[in-house]
């Protein structure tokens, strides 16, 4: 029974990892950079929701509906942040040496981290949602309500992104740029703008998921790097630019981590995920759903 419980926990948390990772996979696939500041977008989203709620209720507590109402705020703010970062900084190093792009995004990451510490202090915070207790008990399993909400929220955001890419004109432009920027430019797509929109959407999804994270885990300024690295593990597993791959990878990583925490010790989860990363990279660098090999 313990095993089933750990797997359920893993799937619940894994959907959140997947929600963060889809944006990371999208930028990697379309703009061809590794955004080391991606996790910081999660953090900023969490804080946006936290402050929006505090502004309305006076403290970071509220009803479920009130909390859900702050999600669009997190999404909108992070869309702007992502768009501006791409337009002003990242676009200037695209196409150069890959590790110049890594350094620029890492520079953005540490600058955002410390600005966040200055603005909100290093103390962990969380959003309290009124109906969280008690947890649901079903078939011998314990399921915290907010984890279920976050699970559904992350899945909805991921599905929305998928539909957006498949159905809308902008989504098709994004896919065109990801496949061939030169050809996309030839047929009249504004490649620079499309890349910035991609960056914005990716950050927006991360921000939305960050708001859900604030309800079940703590948020604090330095949380970002771990989410970036987990996203990397997930994308390596699922394949660059693949949204179904990111979803499968996220669920798997969450399950592996919860099983490690449950049967070994929670201290070992990070070491296990990074070891998994290295093993995966060596054994199957294209990912399970991957298309292209290197870069």
């Amino acid at each position: 029974m313990a095993f089933t419980q750990f797997v359920v926990n893993g799937l619940l948390i894994g959907a959140i990892f997947a929600g963060v990772a889809v944006g990371f996979a999208l930028i990697w696939g379309v703009v061809d950079i590794i955004n080391l500041a991606h996790g910081d977008m999660v953090m900023l989203g969490g804080y946006t929701s936290y402050w929006a709620l505090s502004l309305i209720t006076g403290n970071a507590e509220g009803s479920p509906l009130l909390f859900l109402a702050t999600i669009p705020a997190a999404i909108a703010v992070l869309y702007v942040v992502g768009y501006v970062l791409q337009r002003t900084l990242v676009s200037r190093v695209i196409g150069t040496d890959i590790f110049l792009t890594l350094l620029v995004t890492f520079g953005i990451s540490i600058a955002i981290q410390q600005l966040a510490i200055q603005a909100w202090s290093a103390n962990p915070r969380s959003i309290q949602v009124g109906f969280a207790d008690p947890s649901i008990n079903a078939a011998g399993l314990v399921i915290p309500k907010m984890k279920l909400v976050a699970f559904v929220g992350a899945l909805v955001l991921t599905a929305a992104l998928y539909l957006f890419l498949q159905k809308t004109r902008t989504g098709r432009a994004i896919r065109a740029v990801s496949q061939n920027p030169e050809a996309a430019a030839l047929v009249g797509i504004d490649v620079e703008h499309t890349r910035a929109v991609t960056f914005g959407i990716s950050s927006a999804i991360a921000g939305g998921v960050g708001a859900f994270i604030a309800t079940i885990l703590n948020i604090q300024p330095q949380m970002g790097l771990i989410y970036t690295l987990k996203s990397f593990v997930i994308v390596v597993f699922g394949g660059v630019g693949s949204i179904p791959g990111a979803l499968a990878g996220g669920l798997l990583l969450g399950t592996v981590e919860e099983l490690t925490a449950g049967f070994v010790s929670s201290q070992w989860t990070l070491a296990v995920s990074f070891t998994l990363l290295i093993v995966l990279l060596v054994v199957k660098p294209n990912g399970l759903f991957g298309q292209e090999a290197e870069r």
Binding site: D97, L103, P181, F232, L270, L277, I278, L281
Partner: protein, 352 residues
């Protein structure tokens, strides 16, 4: 992009420091590299002899040497071979813990413990290198970052490292010892890197950076060469870490496997000019001075400043100080030839 000043500013610069003069300095340095290194040894040996035995500046200069070692080590793989490692601090941490544990728990003499630190880092590099050096580009960068974080996490869990609280080392040699130690390692490393950059070994490393497939096709054993370079980088980084834990009188997972330092040392190599011997050293001295100033003047904002410095450097001077100067000196070639050859041909290809 790298010559970002206005026309009038460049004209002024050109009249004060003509490119021919810069070119002459480069020629002089190339011709007298060994003598310059000897001169550096003499100058470097002076401060403690002149009575500067202890205190703030002594510590700062020792740290500068330390960072120069780290930046130059990173450059052996990152700059010369073109594998952008984000995990070099793993070797530093392993070296640091090795000396700390040997000196404190096993009462091993410090010099022996430090050599052990270097060797253990090399052994670790050989094992890890077999896995990660098969990866390229983004994958290599993140895999090495993963190695660093996994090493940090393990040191936080196991007992022999003192767990999350680390180890305090009180019985340490005086500051002058570390001054000469870091200085000695730096000079030795500069000599090795300079020597290698004029040998077949060094040329093969650069060939791997420029086009690994072609280098393999030409019959070079690229796997052997990049692993050897990686182990060499680990040796010097491990030695530096081995010295640092005692110099710092304290070691814990956060200081031993410092992710921010890992970015700093890459920024140093880049700022100075990667792929050269002098570049990373100049970059380390320059950036460490800036960071030291920022840390005292803008407490709590140093990472913001570091982030901005890294971003601006990477965007405006991707070639670094030495590279930009060399480009500037190279302009003369252009005028001499009088041809239409593009001075900055790489800029054309960088934009689509």
């Amino acid at each position: 992009m790298s010559t970002g000043e206005s026309d009038s500013g460049e004209g002024l610069l050109r009249s004060i420091v003509p490119p021919t003069q810069v070119e002459r300095v480069f020629d002089f340095c190339d011709a007298h590299a060994w003598k310059l290194l000897l001169a550096m040894v003499v100058v470097g040996a002076l401060p403690p002899l002149l009575g500067l035995q202890q205190g703030y500046y002594m510590t700062v200069i020792s740290e500068m040497y330390l960072f120069a070692i780290l930046a130059l080590s990173w450059d052996i793989v990152g700059g010369q071979t073109g594998y952008p490692s984000f995990g070099n601090m793993a070797f530093f941490g392993i070296g640091g813990y090795t000396t700390a544990i040997l000196v404190k728990d096993f009462a091993v003499a410090f010099p022996v413990a430090m050599i052990a630190a270097g060797l253990l880092a090399v052994a670790f590099a050989a094992v890890i290198g077999a896995a990660v050096l098969r990866l390229r580009g983004h994958y290599f960068a993140i895999a090495t970052l993963g190695v660093l974080l996994a090493a940090q996490q393990v040191s936080r869990i196991i007992d022999i490292t003192g767990g999350a609280s680390g180890k305090i080392l009180l019985d340490v040699p005086p500051g002058t010892v570390f001054y000469y130690l870091f200085f000695g390692v730096l000079v030795a490393e500069m000599a090795v890197v300079y020597y290698l950059s004029n040998t077949r070994f060094g040329f093969i490393l650069n060939a791997i950076r420029d086009d690994e497939e072609k280098a393999t096709a030409m019959g070079f054993n690229t796997a052997y060469h990049k692993t050897a370079a990686w182990m060499l980088a680990a040796l010097f980084t491990g030695l530096a870490g081995g010295g640092y834990s005692l110099f710092n009188t304290f070691i814990d997972p956060q200081t031993a496997y410092n992710g921010a330092w890992n970015v700093e040392l890459i920024a140093m190599a880049l700022l100075g000019g990667s792929g050269t011997v002098a570049g990373p050293v100049i970059g380390a001295f320059g950036l460490h001075t800036v960071i030291e100033y920022v840390e005292t003047a803008f407490v709590g904002w140093q990472l913001v400043m570091l982030g901005l410095v890294v971003i601006v450097t990477v965007i405006e001077f991707p070639e670094g100080f030495v590279g930009t100067l060399r480009e500037y000196a190279g302009e003369m070639e252009y005028y001499k030839r009088g041809g239409m050859a593009a001075v900055e041909d790489e800029e054309v290809s960088s934009d689509e």
